[in-house]
Amino acid sequence: MILKLLVIFILFISPGFANDWGFDGGNVGWQASAGVVLKQSDGVLNIKTTGESSYVVSPQYEYIDTDNYSVVEIRMKLNRAYQESRLFFLPFGFENFDRGLSLSFATAGMNKFRRYFIDMKNHPYWQGSVRHLLLTLPSNCEVEIDYIKLHPPGFWYSLRSAWQEFLFFRMPNLGTCFIISPITINFKPVNQYIYLMAIALFLVSISYFLISQKGGFQKALFVTVVFIFAIWFVLSLRSLYDDYRVLHNDFSRFYGKSLDEKHIAETGRDYYQFLKWTREKLGGRKEITLHVPGIVRWAPTDFLKMKGPYYLVPNATREDAKYHIVYDDKRPEGKFKLFAEFRPGAYILERTE
């Protein structure tokens, strides 16, 4: 009862239901995460992001009526091409933004205003009243948001959103390179729709061939296989578009750089330079033990453990060797003397026992 009264009270004092945020007169209550520069000028919201997890968030308690509005339209411009953004929402009854309360979408080419449509009705929690929106933005990027609008459900909006989702850039998993996520429409694998269409086509064909007495099962299957090849061809063309986006990003990141600069781009400047320095300091081939943290903020789990031994060759990594290489990790126990120091926290120890 108290909760209900509280809801009524909040609804009473809140600005009411929202469906459109333009930024002609200011940032209309939108805030940014720490480290992100946000200002309004020329009718747009200018945002400069830094590291990962940069976001902007809507004013609280500007409720969104999900029954009437399910398509979010964002018009924005980025200076980095083919990135991923994620729209989080906070339905009534939830306290925190969670990955499960979000949908992702791909951004297109750079330096041009584009409209992105996200069909939220596909999300199971887009129900009742939503009291908060949060938009994550790519790191180290300049973004201009012209407006964020909400639209009622509609065929054309859904179609546009589905098409954008179909073209969504799917990078392979870079961990151990084992999967390429499926192309989706309405967040379901596109193959699912294709199989259903193929089954429908097969049933129609078999009926036709049986009625017209021109064969049966085999012919209907043949028609279905041809259909599958045709769609497969379309998917193949789409994968060429993914290739273009991969190359576009990688050319801007790597083209024209020296091998050393590329290693830095792949490994992180400080860590790579530390490894290079270590190799030079150790001189010939030595046996070493590497101490690095398992998890760092700026790289995947065990990334440092994997890259370190590779860059340190011809030194061979062993358990408990004479030389211990420490990079932002706990100093190993035992009797050591400092062999060389790269910077505080990153040094080489030599066993004295």
């Binding site: 499926p182 193959n191 193929a198």
Partner: protein, 446 residues
Amino acid sequence: MMVIRILLALLVPFLLGYSLLLYLFKKNELVFLERMAISFVLGSGLLTFVMTLFVLFRIPLNFLVIVVFPVLFILFSLFKFRDNMVFGFDAMKTVTFGFGFARVLFFGLLFLIALKLCYVFSEALLRPVYTWDAMQNWVIRAKFIFYERVPQNIYNTDYPLHLPLIVSWFSIVLGEWNDQLYKVIFPLYYSSMLGSFYFVLRRFKGQLHSIFFTFLLSTLPLLAYHATISYADFSVAVFFYFAVAYLYVFMEKRGEGCFYLAALFAGMMMLVKSEGRLYFFALLFVLAIYLLREQRQIKPILKFFFPALLLILPWIIIRTTFGIKGFDWLFPETYYSISQLIGRFWFILQQVYKKFLFEGNWHLAWFAFVLSFLAFYKKIFQSKLKYLYLLTLLNLIVLFIVFCFTEMYQWLLGASVTFNRLVLAYMPIVLLTIGLTFKFSSKEKS
């Protein structure tokens, strides 16, 4: 100077493969472009076999030491076959249709394949090695080989030596460690496979048909992606493809050259990745069935088995003499219970359903594979195609055995890192099977 060294690094394996083909095929048995496609992969395999021998006998892997035998072999072969050295350019005859829609379509598809090749070459050569297994298991060993020459630090794993050796070969020729340029090997493997795929299909199908399926193969997302990183899963797929494709050509056309070529690739496949052994025995089984059914004799299987064994033998001896530990952890200390196995079986089946049909790795290949089988099952059972289907079935059984009866099962749980990479090994064969089975019209060449 660098350009010359790179060319040299590519030319030696290429000419080595080319020279070996002179022994296996008569002048007009293979079209020129197909020979080109086979040569680099075959030569790379052969070169790493020679290098494995040096590792075995602890001979330093220096440039002159490595090249002396291959160069002598190349020179001798080119001299011996000097009249047959340059093959007819009859590949050009393969584009026979006149101007019109079919021609536009053919060159359109060729253009799309070229785009894909641009992607694979650019992406491979833009970035130095950066992926997980490549760094941790494969290229790190190549780096040790380059610095040590008589390798000391490469025996900590059971992974065979083809990849570390061919990668180190590049740096040995370049005279400096370079973890970017060597990556050209993989796009070259990829192009070679596509080239061969077209010409193998072309033996049995029309031009448009062959180029269409070559295009489909080229755009399989996980395959193309793996051609840009340095994983052995891709290389094993290439060698396995060559072995199967030419064994199939042998079955259909009875060329001795194709038979031995398949045997060589099958042997080299085992030198690429440990799983190669399983695929080799699957291939051997299919060949045995073929020989018993079609030729009523089993003896020729030895002609297949021994060349392959010869290629893998040095690695077996190295493993024994250096006491390299196998994957002991793969085998459980106690037997699995029946209920455990049933549980695993259902889980694997679910994974097969999900990963074959709904992930983005293979587009619609598996669905098309099943449909093609259903649509043409009569033709399949009446022709040699049944052996390709049998082989795919065996490969799938291998997949089930690996995950059901070993601790590899843990790699299927959670993120499931190995499943698709294991399947990658025979995806080109699946595409070849579909391409050979399907007939767009009754007029098509058969």
